[in-house]
């Protein structure tokens, strides 16, 4: 039987998570320590266990991911770095249920997504995941307000609630003034921030960003990254960002480096400044790119 996607209790479906529903009372900045990466608490929001992804037939096998395991704690801002072809996008696709793993498990909020049926996956994706892509992927026929509202209306949130949450999220990410513009009337940076708002507005368990700064100039890239910091800090949003830009990665709490489908190493920011973290990342990048550091 096909599962009815209209669920009155959809907000409760995210119940296992502890933090409050967005953004009625955004938590003041003073309460949470700014750069302290939360220690892995009882249950990680993302748990990747021995994931393997193999493409191709018997004689022509490509191992895109080989035994990748890591966890992401609630409220963490994690970066994944790697050269093109390293498997970082495959990893993101496997976590975001867009692609299926060959073996291993991916648990989001304690729920194993690897065995889910596609109808269930759709609902899962809608309620637990937020996406931000390199190209903002906004619907060109909708205004910013409607674009941000879209995930909520799809989940059948009442209209008044939809409009209130969109407004509040937009205020928070400083895009209130573009709410009634169409994507083609906005700059690339504004589009990306609208996309970020759209990912955030449903209050998902984890937000996946795939090269979000890739198409932006440095000023807009910085604005977007600060926007991610806000999301992470003010809303305790858990963010997983794939990037090959060391500068972008320096905004995260922790960076996983991937090479040839394996986790090569991991850097934690700890209490160091962003500048210091950036230099440490650059060192690893230089070390990894033995054949030429421009590989990243």
């Amino acid at each position: 039987m096909r599962k009815q996607t209209v669920q009155a209790d959809h907000i409760d479906a995210t119940a296992p998570r502890v933090h409050m529903t967005l953004p009625t009372t955004p938590r003041g900045g003073a309460e949470a320590p700014r750069h302290a990466a939360p220690a892995a608490t009882a249950q990680p929001v993302l748990d990747v266990r021995h994931v393997e992804k193999v493409y191709g037939a018997r004689n022509n096998v490509t191992r895109a991911l080989a035994d990748v395991s890591f966890t992401v704690a609630r409220g963490e801002f994690v970066g994944i770095m790697g050269a093109s072809g390293s498997g970082k996008s495959t990893l993101l696709n496997c976590i975001s249920t867009i692609d299926a793993v060959t073996s291993g498990n991916v648990l989001v909020g304690g729920v194993d997504v690897t065995g889910m049926k596609s109808s269930k996956l759709t609902k899962f994706r809608r309620e637990q995941l937020g996406f931000i892509f390199q190209d903002s992927n906004l619907l060109d026929t909708l205004t910013a307000r409607e674009n941000i509202a879209l995930p909520l209306t799809i989940s059948r949130v009442p209209a008044a609630e939809v409009l209130r949450r969109v407004e509040a999220t937009a205020q928070r990410l400083s895009i209130a003034e573009v709410l009634d513009k169409y994507p083609y009337q906005m700059s690339g940076g504004q589009q990306q921030r609208v996309a970020a708002a759209r990912a955030l507005v449903t209050d998902p368990a984890i937000i996946m960003a795939d090269e979000p700064t890739g198409a932006l100039d440095s000023k807009n890239a910085r604005l977007l990254l600060e926007c991610f910091e806000t999301m992470n800090h003010d809303y305790q949003a858990t963010v997983l960002m794939v990037t090959h830009d060391s500068f972008a990665a320096s905004y995260t709490h922790r960076v996983l480096f991937i090479r040839d489908g394996r986790i090569f190493t991991e850097l934690r920011r700890g209490s160091s400044t962003r500048q210091a973290f950036f230099e440490r990342i650059m060192e690893v990048v230089a070390m990894m790119g033995g054949e030429g550091s421009d590989a990243l």
Binding site: K123, R126, L139, T141, E146, L150, P151, T153, L163
Partner: protein
């Protein structure tokens, strides 16, 4: 090499070409099948030979017109493909192919598809033409005596010529794309997003309301003014203004439609911010610039198709139902008497009279004996077999009906006329009858004794008028009978020849009003008066009808054949030898039935042909537009899928959009048709009452199959496009 490339391209771009191929194939099928009409008519053993030729001629002429419609359609379908493939053609040039070579590849592709469509279309056309033979036979109410499969070279020829013309036009358009475009434009064509020009929804909603108002105004004007049958410049001008108003109104209606729907739905917040509703509305609004004009066009085309098919088939239906009443006897013939003015005109013309000592025309004093006069006709005149026409040899019972003019000799005005009667009962003149002409034209007059003879002959009860009674006869249907019925029903007193008369019946007896075999009612109004009054009025004869049934023992077919022989008509003279009249139309029951059947068939045939092609053309345009719209928007659907919308919801949104695109033109077209038909029916009623019944059901069925079929195909193909778009992302 180029050939191989072209073939590969056609195979690869199969789906894009599918719509093109489908439409072209359908066009070829229809062209071929309908152009075999003359062969079908032959096979169906349809008696009237002129019909096959005239029908064939009309169809060929129509085919040219429809080929032009189809030509535009094909250019449109082709542009859809070209838009999709600009990048590819740019790539060829970047790789070093000359423009000429690219053009040749394209020409080859178009040729391959056209050739495929021709072969497919002819095969289907053959099958359709064979099937249609049976349909034709039933339309013309005949049996197929000797069916055999046939192939028409001339129909093939016409079809190929039309196809070649379409091919040539398409090719010119394609070559222009390649010749004009710069490589950089071609290469970036895929990425160049269609500029979304958003209009202020308030303005759009206002435009919609203005359009709606214009349509309503046009409806009211048409219902008040009617159609300009008389062709007077004033009437034509009014009609032209109405037409322009409805066209502009329709266009504005569709330009504002999506904006209006958007605003209306936005007003209902709970509905707008729910599920994909806002996406659906925005997608509609975004496409309005490209689509609204063709929606308006399609509404108008559908209006034409529905109106012509319904009116045509209803007219045929009317003839069918009235033919029984219209053929009271086996054979009728008419003598038409010369009026005073005609007599003077003819006598004044020496080329007619033959100068001094020639014939003399005169007004008849008394009706002539028609049976007697018919003996002066000659069968097989000019051959050795020549002999007098002997009606008596086949006649059983017969009756002569004499009608008189209502203007007495020496008077200017008729004693009774339709306009006066209308005023008496406060009714409008029937549509199509001009006021100025009718005041001089009276009803015809019949003697009571003659009418009672007629009634006895028809096996009906006689009537009694006494000295001050009258009644009215007519078989022209509701449009005039409503007036006569009211006159009789209200007991209107008429003063004729100083005598006050009262009606003896309370409504017109249509069944006892027919004097000739005919497809339509021919008696537009006859007043039956007491014999003494008719004598007193001194009225000139108007027409005499001879109604005759074949004698028992006479084979009706032989009798029909005898009447059908070539004849030379004799003079009609009074006792002094002056020419007093001319022979009118004669008709047998069989020939009337046949002409009704062929007229019937002809009208239905043309109506279906035109209607079918127009509907197919409309539906094909909508299909192409929708498919290109869906693939333009496929990125948006992919995003929706990524945001966690189920395929079912996306399909639903696509379905709603397409339903709006397909249904609104139909709604508007049908609304236009209903208004137009209500006027046309008024007009057709003059020919004997119109009933829109079963034929409409049949028409609707054909329409639904064609239009609905396209709608289903469109939706299913759109679903495929959307599914592919979603999967593309997933597979990345």
């Amino acid at each position: 090499m180029l050939c191989k490339l072209a073939l590969g391209n056609v195979r690869r771009a199969g789906r894009d070409y599918l719509v093109y191929l489908l439409t072209l194939t359908l066009a070829v099928t229809v062209f071929y099948a309908f152009n075999t009409i003359s062969i079908q008519v032959d096979l169906a053993d349809i008696a009237s030979e002129g019909l096959a030729t005239s029908l064939g001629g009309i169809i060929s002429g129509l085919t040219v017109f429809l080929a032009i419609v189809m030509g535009f359609l094909m250019v449109y379908a082709n542009n859809f493909i070209m838009k999709r493939r600009k990048k590819e053609f740019g790539l060829y040039q970047v790789l070093g192919m000359s423009r000429g070579q690219v053009a040749r590849v394209m020409a080859l592709e178009t040729f391959i598809v056209s050739a495929a469509a021709l072969v497919l279309g002819i095969v289907l056309g053959l099958a359709l033409s064979w099937l249609m033979t049976f349909f034709t036979a039933s339309l013309f109410k005949t049996q197929i005596a000797d069916f055999h499969f046939f192939f028409s070279i001339s129909a093939l020829f016409i079809t190929v010529v039309c196809l070649l013309a379409i091919f040539a036009v398409t090719l010119v358009f394609n070559l222009r794309v390649v010749a004009r475009a710069r490589v950089i434009d071609l290469m970036s064509a895929g990425r160049q997003n269609e500029a979304i020009r958003t209009r202020n929804p308030w303005v759009a909603a206002a435009v919609f309301l203005v359009g709606l108002a214009a349509i309503v105004v046009a409806y009211v004007r048409l219902l008040n003014d009617g159609l300009p049958y008389d062709g007077s410049p004033e009437g034509m001008q009014k009609f032209l203004i109405t037409t322009v108003t409805v066209v502009i109104g329709t266009i504005l209606f569709f330009f504002g439609l999506s904006g209006f729907l958007l605003k209306a739905l936005q007003a209902a917040r709970g509905l707008y911010w729910r599920g994909l509703n806002m996406v659906t509305m925005r997608q509609l609004a975004a496409k309005v610039n490209t689509v609204s004009f063709s929606m308006a066009m399609i509404a108008m085309l559908l209006f034409l198709a529905i109106t012509s098919v319904t009116a045509g088939m209803s007219l045929a239906d009317v003839m069918n139902t009235s033919v029984e009443r219209g053929t009271p006897v086996d054979y009728t013939t008419v003598v038409v008497y010369y009026s005073g003015s005609t007599v003077d005109e003819l006598n004044a013309d020496p080329t007619v009279t033959g100068g001094e000592g020639g014939v003399v025309f005169a007004e008849a004093e008394e009706p002539v004996d028609v049976m007697e006069m018919s003996r002066r006709q000659t069968v097989n005149a000019g051959t050795d077999d020549a002999q007098p026409f002997d009606l008596a040899s086949i006649a059983g019972s017969s009756i002569q009906v004499d009608l008189f003019e209502s203007t007495p000799r020496g008077a200017d005005m008729p004693v009774v006329n339709l306009l006066d009667l209308c005023e008496e009962v406060d009714e409008e003149l029937p549509q199509g009858i001009d006021e100025t002409g009718v005041s001089g034209l009276g009803l015809t007059v019949m003697r009571e004794s003659n009418y009672n003879e007629y009634l006895r002959f028809r096996g009906m009860d006689p009537i009694v008028l006494g000295e001050d009674g009258y009644t009215i006869l007519s078989d022209m249907g509701e449009s005039v009978n409503r007036i006569y019925d009211k006159v009789l029903g209200e007991g209107v007193e008429l003063t004729i020849g100083g005598r006050v008369l009262y009606p003896v019946q309370d409504r017109v007896n249509e069944d006892a009003s027919t004097f000739v075999n005919a497809m339509f009612g021919m008696n537009s109004g006859t007043i039956v008066l007491p014999d003494s009054l008719v004598d007193q009025l001194d009225l000139p004869p108007y027409q005499s009808y001879l109604m005759l049934n074949y004698a028992d023992g006479v084979n009706p077919d032989d009798a029909d054949a005898y009447i059908g022989e070539y004849r030379e008509y004799g003079d009609i003279t009074d006792t002094a030898g002056n020419l007093v009249g001319a022979w009118g139309v004669e008709a047998t029951r069989t020939s009337t039935y046949e002409s009704v059947d062929s007229m019937n068939g002809l009208i239905s045939y043309l109506a279906i042909y035109i209607g079918f092609v127009l509907v197919v053309a409309c539906a094909a345009i909508l299909t192409i537009q929708q498919l290109s719209g869906v693939s333009d928007a496929s990125k948006n659907y992919r995003i929706l899928a990524e945001l966690g919308t189920s395929d079912r919801e996306i399909s639903h949104s696509v379905l709603v959009q397409q339903t709006i695109f397909f249904v609104f033109p139909v709604v508007v077209g049908v609304a236009h048709s209903i208004v137009a038909l209500s006027i046309i029916i008024d007009l057709v009623e003059v020919f004997g009452g119109l009933t829109i019944g079963g034929t409409v059901g049949f028409t609707t069925l054909i329409f639904l199959i064609a239009y609905g079929g396209y709608f289903c195909v469109t939706y299913l193909m759109s679903k495929g496009i959307v599914r592919d778009a979603i999967r593309t992302r997933h597979a990345q």
